[in-house]
């Protein structure tokens, strides 16, 4: 239980919000649960719900909505390619397929070395820099965008970016 293993953090997070608006602590608590458990388990959703008086179904709704959270164990880092509508118009789907091919995985899968999990996600609010992707690792979130409409990000550039993470041990 988070409340046993991370009591201090839990209390600190809860203290930030007025007592009658505990539900506002859902996001940071989920983040804490994710780092504690590696991913967000059904039990974690229930625990977080219990801490803030929200049904576990409502907590799950947040987990499902935000690409920040993952509900299953995966690789060390996540490549999250936006394939939402504006990005798709700029070739994001082809981009995603090509990147997957280079990494030897299908969307949602993890590379055999356990380094990368590739995912398609919904809009990351960088539609003007499509196609684009973000990398989530222990350090946080890193955006990698096209330089502009006439300079779309290429798969090779993307591979360089990824190589940089593994070689530099960035966030590793």
């Amino acid at each position: 239980m988070l409340i046993d293993t991370h009591r201090e953090e839990v209390d600190r997070i809860l203290a930030k919000y007025p007592a009658d608006q505990k539900r506002s602590a859902a996001m940071p608590l989920l983040y804490l649960a994710q780092s504690a458990y590696g991913h967000i388990t059904p039990q974690a959703m229930e625990e977080v719900g219990g801490l803030i008086g929200v049904s576990s179904t409502d907590v799950a709704g947040l987990v499902g909505f935000y690409s920040l959270y993952y509900d299953r164990q995966a690789g060390k880092r996540r490549v999250q390619i936006c394939t939402d509508f504006p990005c798709a118009l700029r070739g994001a789907e082809t981009f995603a397929a090509a990147l997957c091919q280079k990494l030897g995985v299908r969307l949602g899968e993890t590379t055999p070395d356990g380094e990368w999990t590739v995912e398609a996600v919904m809009c990351l609010a960088a539609c003007d820099k499509a196609p684009m992707f973000q990398v989530q690792d222990a350090d946080g979130i890193h955006y990698h965008e096209s330089a502009g409409p006439d300079q779309p990000l290429t798969v090779d550039q993307a591979l360089d970016v990824l190589a940089n993470y593994t070689s530099a041990g960035k966030g590793g």
Partner: protein
């Protein structure tokens, strides 16, 4: 009027209240703007974009705010450059709305085509087919041919169970969130949510059990596609092959209006059978909802263990007999008993049954009584809620007190209605010995020690005794709903009197939205009292009984009398649907028809008389008819036609004066419009064409002198050790409901609920087997320790099998 707005929709002028949404204004004109996510009972969200229209607004001068007029002196209307959603846009004075244009048609066609890119259109195997908004709108707007490659459609495994009652087909979901919003906003059971985004978005439930809500079935009515279907009706029939019969739910005092969909089918031996139960709109009673008990609790009518032939005891055994023989025997014995005849009837009978029963029993010189553990109907007859009372109209200025009742478990739809009244601004006061769901919507929660119910209410009579008492006293309108939690007959009668006194003292009776409501144990408890059946309190039979006639009651099964004691009191005639323990003790058993096989009326807790109709092939005979037949053989003449009996009731029961079956079938146009051909607007619940019922006046409204009754506050209960409190659960093992197999996963095993501290003291863990001993009761059952019982209190649900004590009182609980 300044509060009204006049606008033009597709050339037709309409005047509607300010704040009305375009979609609703159009509906009032009979102009059906297609919607998916909008529902007139839910807040608009503008998610699906199906309702796009062209909107023109009157131009105003920016500086002066004056309306700009054109050369003809007419206000200048400028059309907005983009289409707008009719479901989120409120009307404005002079607004011009155009739905019938090429531009609008094209936009709607596009939205529909877009929705279909992720929808399987498997209408031929979909339960919704034939009454599906998406199907209808696809025919109106859909492309003749799909531009999408089938393989690229979103595919997911079909039939994902959300709990035991509802199936989800994720491919069919069009993400309108009607189901989620219903659960969150109308019911406050937050057990459905969206998961993921975009095409991958799906409905999930994480509750334990899944989709943990007593109102889940309603989501299948308002889901605009076949994504949510019930296990009960799944693949059972097509909407167009079923007949409709109007009915009233027999399970609780709310009296929800139902439509029974029936069909004659080979599988059932060529009999008419009920395929499903649907809500029928009555905005004053159940709006367009029913609870899952009402929707899925009908199976007892078709249960294979129904009694169909009379039984007569021969050589100690109950053997089948001809009607004539059984009736002769019963009539002869009952007549012979004369003053020794004790009649006992249950509150699930109709007014007609109860009236005839009483006529015959008293005609033979006997005494007839109602089998109930709850009193207080004399008080509701006096100061019951006034004519025209409607929870939907309660808001600011109204106070509602709920005392000794767990509304969601005892009268589910009243929980929804009371909650919504509170959300609109009514002051809800909840008084109980433990927390219940009703507390969530309450402004004031009063917690008393069991045994202090009457004292608590009497305390509110003292001016300024509490904020809650002040709020109730000062409110323009006040309604009190009283229940029977922890109380026996005498206790609930006293509580009703205390509540009546409070209403009388604060002058809250005899007017609409004022007065007393009993949260009765049965659908027609109020009617039974009105038909002149007094209750005998705790005693099942009066002293000196020499024969008994028991109808729709099971005092033996309920542990109120032993079979031996019953038989010792002479000849026993039982009229029943099933061979209950009481029927097994009888000398003559007469098979009764169930409520869906015959006519009749129930009087609900708001004292609304409502009519139900025969829907399926009859088994047995209607109780009123059996009573008439016994009467006839004993030389008494009472009618055996329901409508005629109602005329007799109207003549002899003052409150029912003037009632006729015709009056009960009167309807007026209701808002919002549901059912009909335009399914996408209100969902699949039925339009009410068979009667909204008639509320009967309280004695106060009939000019009677109303005075407060004498009542002393009882001494505070001695509190040492545990108090065992009998409570009500909706899903119980009562004679009728237990026969709905589909509900069995939700009917709990007998249990007693303990507070954590008490459990620790007694060294009892959640799930342990324990033995409970209290006033005449000794049972072994499962302990629950989940923090819902207050300290010092153990809660034991009634009607789960073991008999519970009649009243809250001391108990000992031991492990093992």
């Amino acid at each position: 009027m300044a509060d009204n707005v006049t606008l033009t929709i597709d050339g037709a002028r309409v005047t509607v209240p300010k704040g009305t949404l375009i979609v609703d204004a159009a509906k009032r004109l009979g102009n059906d703007i297609p919607v998916f996510c909008y529902h007139p009972k839910l807040q608009p969200v503008g998610m699906c974009r199906m309702c796009l229209v062209e909107v023109g607004r009157v131009q105003r001068d920016r500086a002066s705010g004056q309306v700009i007029v054109d050369e003809n002196g007419q206000p200048r209307v400028v059309m907005a450059p983009k289409l707008e959603t009719a479901c989120t846009t409120p009307v404005e004075e002079g607004m011009v709305v155009i739905g019938a244009s090429g531009r609008v048609k094209e936009a709607r066609d596009d939205i529909l085509e877009f929705l279909l890119t992720s929808h399987p259109l498997d209408c031929p195997v979909c339960d919704k087919g034939g009454e599906c908004p998406l199907q209808n709108l696809t025919i109106a707007h859909g492309p003749g041919q799909s531009r999408f490659i089938f393989e690229e459609k979103f595919r997911l495994a079909k039939q994902l169970p959300l709990g035991e009652l509802i199936y989800l087909d994720r491919e069919r979901c069009i993400q309108c969130a009607r189901c989620i919003r219903f659960q969150n906003d109308i019911v406050d059971d937050r057990v459905l949510s969206f998961y993921e985004r975009g095409r991958h978005l799906e409905i999930i439930t994480c509750s334990e059990p899944g989709f943990d809500s007593k109102f889940s079935g309603n989501t299948t009515d308002i889901c605009p596609v076949g994504a949510l279907t019930t296990t009960d009706f799944r693949f059972e029939a097509r909407p167009w092959e079923m007949n409709m019969a109007a009915s009233i739910c027999p399970h609780c005092p709310v009296g929800c209006n139902l439509t029974l969909n029936t069909r004659r089918e080979a599988r059932s031996g060529g009999q008419m059978v009920i395929k499903r139960v649907m809500p029928r709109q009555n905005e004053q009673v159940n709006e367009i909802w029913v609870c899952d008990k009402g929707r899925f609790g009908h199976h007892y009518a078709s249960s294979s263990d129904r009694l169909t032939r009379p039984l007569v005891r021969r050589d100690g055994k109950l053997l089948e007999a001809a009607w004539e023989e059984a009736l002769e025997l019963a009539a002869g014995q009952l007549k012979a008993a004369g003053a020794g005849l004790a009649g006992l009837a249950g509150g699930r009978l109709s007014n007609e049954d109860l009236y005839n029963f009483r006529q015959v029993v008293t005609g033979l010189g006997g005494s007839a009584a109602l089998n109930t553990r709850m009193g207080g109907a004399e008080q509701t007859q006096q100061v019951g809620v006034g004519l025209g009372t409607n929870f939907a109209e309660m808001g600011p200025g109204t106070a509602i007190l709920v005392v000794a009742s767990d509304l969601e478990e005892e009268a589910p739809i009243w929980w929804l209605r009371v909650k919504q009244a509170a959300e609109r601004g009514a002051t809800l006061i909840v008084a109980n010995g433990r927390p219940t769901k009703t507390d969530r919507a309450a402004r004031y929660v009063i917690r008393y020690a069991y045994g202090q119910e009457v004292a608590t209410v009497l305390g509110m009579l003292v001016t300024g005794s509490s904020e809650a008492a002040e709020a109730l006293a000062r409110a323009e309108n006040s309604v009190i709903l009283f229940g029977r939690e922890g109380l026996d007959f005498a206790g609930s009668t006293a509580l009703a009197q205390a509540c009546a006194n409070l209403l009388i003292a604060t002058n809250h009776y005899g007017r609409p939205n004022n007065g007393l409501v009993g949260v009765w144990p049965d659908a027609n408890t109020q009617g039974a009292w009105d038909m002149g059946l007094p209750a005998r309190g705790q005693a099942v039979l009066p002293v000196g009984a020499t024969a008994s006639w028991i109808v729709a009651a099971d005092p033996v099964g309920d542990g109120e009398i032993s079979a031996e004691a019953l038989r010792a009191a002479g000849f026993v005639v039982v009229q029943e649907l099933f061979l209950t323990p009481t029927a097994q003790a009888a000398d003559v058993v007469l098979p009764a028809a169930s409520w869906v096989e015959r006519e009749g009326t129930f009087t609900n807790g708001e004292r609304r008389v409502q009519r139900f109709y025969p829907a399926i092939t009859m088994k047995g005979r209607p109780d009123f008819q059996i009573a008439a037949e016994i009467g006839a053989r004993a030389g008494l003449s009472v009618s055996s036609h329901a409508a005629q009996i109602m005329l007799a009731i109207a003549e002899n029961v003052p409150a029912y004066a003037g009632l006729t079956y015709q009056k009960l079938t009167e309807v007026v146009k209701q808002w919002p419009e549901v059912g009909g051909r335009d399914l996408y607007y209100g969902g699949a619940s039925y339009t009410n064409r068979q009667g909204l019922g008639v509320q009967v006046p309280s004695a106060a409204e009939r000019g009677a002198d109303i005075t407060a009754g004498k009542l002393a506050a009882p001494p505070p209960p001695a509190r040492n050790g545990l108090t065992l409190v009998p409570v009500t659960v909706l899903y119980d093992r009562s004679t009728t409901f237990v026969r709905s197999q589909v509900m069995h996963p939700y009917v709990p095993r007998p249990y007693v609920e303990l507070n954590t501290a008490d459990a620790a003291r007694l060294d009892i863990q959640d799930g342990d087997t324990v033995t409970v001993e209290a006033a005449g009761v000794r049972v072994t059952l499962t302990a629950r320790v989940d923090g819902r019982a207050p300290e010092g209190v153990a809660l034991m649900p009634a009607d789960l099998g073991p008999a519970v004590p009649a009243v809250a009182g001391p108990a000992t609980i031991q492990k093992g």
